[in-house]
Symmetry: C2
Subunit: 208 residues, 2 copies
């Protein structure tokens, strides 16, 4: 599975671009910085990506999306106790995420706020990733409902939308406050919201 040289170069560009975009935002991300960081030149970059926009879109598709897959989506899909798993992810996400992710914000959310209104392709690509997130949570709640863990009257579609929205909101506010502590506290409330969707019987272990 040894990657060939061109693929390695491409990946180096993608990773560096991801970091630069994560720090500065897409528009403020400097091509020159990425090149300096990778030790490459414009020839290399514009050989692999036709425009800066294409580079950004590739970062979303191949870096950001894959990170979310590995951190959240896969685990949620694979679980046969989806609600329990969702609660566990929400409860422990603040420890599993890199330290600077609270300070720099969620890469997906950052780009959503910056680019959705400006670039249609960005909007579509970001919306696609967000849709997967929402769909994954939605399925988890749906399955939980079949298991009798989630109340029958819960609109799992709307609830999933809200969970993802609040999730991003928590990171966003914590980013502004520059406070991992606020992030944790905020996610605990989201945890409580999801517990509130559960049927009384299975809602054991609820604090307070």
């Amino acid at each position: 599975m040894d990657q060939k040289q061109p693929d390695l170069t491409r990946e180096k560009l993608l990773m560096s671009a991801f970091c630069e975009i994560h720090r500065q935002g897409f528009q403020a991300a400097s091509i020159a910085n990425i090149l300096q960081d990778t030790g490459l030149t414009k020839g290399a970059l514009y050989h692999h990506f036709p425009t800066k926009q294409a580079l950004g879109l590739a970062v979303i598709e191949e870096v950001i999306k894959e990170r979310l897959e590995g951190m959240i989506f896969k685990r949620l899909r694979a679980s046969d106790k989806p609600v329990e798993t969702l609660l566990d992810i929400i409860a422990t996400i603040d420890k599993k995420v890199p330290a600077d992710f609270v300070m720099l914000g969620c890469p997906l959310n950052n780009l959503m706020q910056e680019m959705s209104a400006l670039d249609e392709l960005f909007q579509e690509q970001l919306s696609s990733v967000l849709g997967i997130w929402q769909k994954t949570v939605e399925d988890a709640l749906k399955r939980g409902q079949k298991q009798g863990v989630i109340r029958a009257d819960v609109d799992y579609k709307a609830a999933a939308l809200f969970v993802v929205s609040a999730w991003e909101g928590c990171i966003g506010v914590a980013k502004n406050m520059q406070s991992p502590k606020a992030f944790k506290l905020c996610m605990q409330q989201l945890h409580g919201y999801v517990q509130g969707l559960m049927s009384a019987k299975t809602e054991k272990g609820r604090k307070k």
Copy 2:
């Protein structure tokens, strides 16, 4: 109360800057665009504001903050049924907000995501406004608790943090989806969350 010419010029700059920043973000906001829009020149702008940063900070303090005051804070503070008022604001906010606010996002949230990690002064100023928002909701919940409307076991501070976070999250996600409908649906869930904080007796009129 007629404003003098210089004040009018300053206000024109502030309003135009607010729109430009709302559309493009702060960093991408173009001084040239603002000047073209107002029909003024650099001499005028840099007479009233020493730097672009100062202009941005003034927009936060004098435009964004005041809008939130008029739309949310004042009403919440003045109400003697704070929880009811909070629920009403959440339920009707999608109709009272300008149409493009969902498409362009919340001006406060946009700047929080863009600038918090980049500029300390922005971070502080934004955090201050966000803190007022949080504090206002917090007081509303606190008063509701004294009235017996909110359950005694509710951590009103954490709940307020979550309400504001989820609120911004709803706008942010709806902005990405470019969907006022999603915004409405998402805010309905937040409405349900706040209802979930209420004591059983007063929790009348809950749907489903």
